[in-house]
């Protein structure tokens, strides 16, 4: 069993679903192949569903694409869903990002993968390294 465990932010999840050319798809494919475990939570799941529902994203989706089912199937295959995670403020500029970091803490994640500059600025949180998707992909390939 691989020791890597990573929280993926909503942008990474959505990008994996719709953009086959981006690093996010390679990351989720690597998780499905057993290279690491995705750590997620009801908060992350709900945020991914909400971003999926936005017209800016929907216009790229094929009408028959069932994003809720896709999310469930990936979670069954490659993710550990931890209980709702809350704690003291971490990202002062945007407390809405805190649940990602607390999910990493509760789920003993080794990485938080995000495109959000404010979350990336945290760099480390209780043993989890905060990295962008390309960096995480490099880490997966190196190890």
């Amino acid at each position: 069993m691989n020791a890597w465990r990573a929280v993926l932010d909503a942008q990474v999840w959505i990008s994996a679903a719709i953009n086959s050319a981006g690093p996010a798809r390679k990351i989720v494919d690597a998780a499905a192949a057993g290279a690491f475990r995705i750590v997620t939570s009801p908060y992350v799941h709900a945020e991914v569903r909400e971003v999926f529902s936005r017209p800016a994203v929907r216009r790229f989706l094929v009408p028959r694409f069932d994003e809720a089912a896709w999310l469930d199937f990936v979670e069954v295959t490659a993710a550990d869903v931890v209980e709702e995670a809350v704690g003291p403020p971490v990202v002062p500029a945007d407390p809405d990002d805190d649940p990602y970091l607390w999910t990493a803490y509760v789920g003993a994640a080794t990485h938080v993968v995000t495109r959000d500059a404010q979350v990336l600025a945290v760099k480390h949180f209780h043993g989890a390294q905060v990295v962008d998707p390309s960096t995480f992909l490099r880490i997966l390939r190196v190890t």
């Binding site: 050319a21 499905a32 800016a56 896709w70 809405d96």
Partner: protein, 97 residues
């Protein structure tokens, strides 16, 4: 589905695992009336995971074909995703106020 407590699990672990292995039974383990785990045959778990993996791949293939047919630009899609994520945050902040 059979329901057992953590006490049952401790007291009858060998018997329960035999029932899972030989009779393909499944058990939901409860602690203080709350479901905490399930014991199912390993083969059944593998089949469930294989099914989920295939279905996820099929949905992705469907979506990928759509993107190719429409000629969507990858950078444009990434910008739209970032915009949607910002929109979700902005609306959530507005709801809190």
């Amino acid at each position: 589905m059979n329901r057992i407590t953590t006490l049952d699990l401790r007291a009858h672990m060998g018997e329960l695992l035999d029932r899972v292995r030989l009779r393909f039974e499944s058990f939901v383990v409860e602690r203080k009336g709350r479901e905490v785990a399930a014991i199912i045959p390993a083969e059944r778990l593998r089949r469930l995971e294989d099914f989920a993996r295939r279905r996820a791949a099929e949905l992705q293939a469907l979506q990928d074909e759509h993107v190719r047919e429409k000629g969507y630009d990858a950078a444009e899609m990434e910008r739209a995703i970032a915009e949607a994520a910002r929109d979700v945050k902005t609306k959530r902040k507005a709801r809190k106020k």
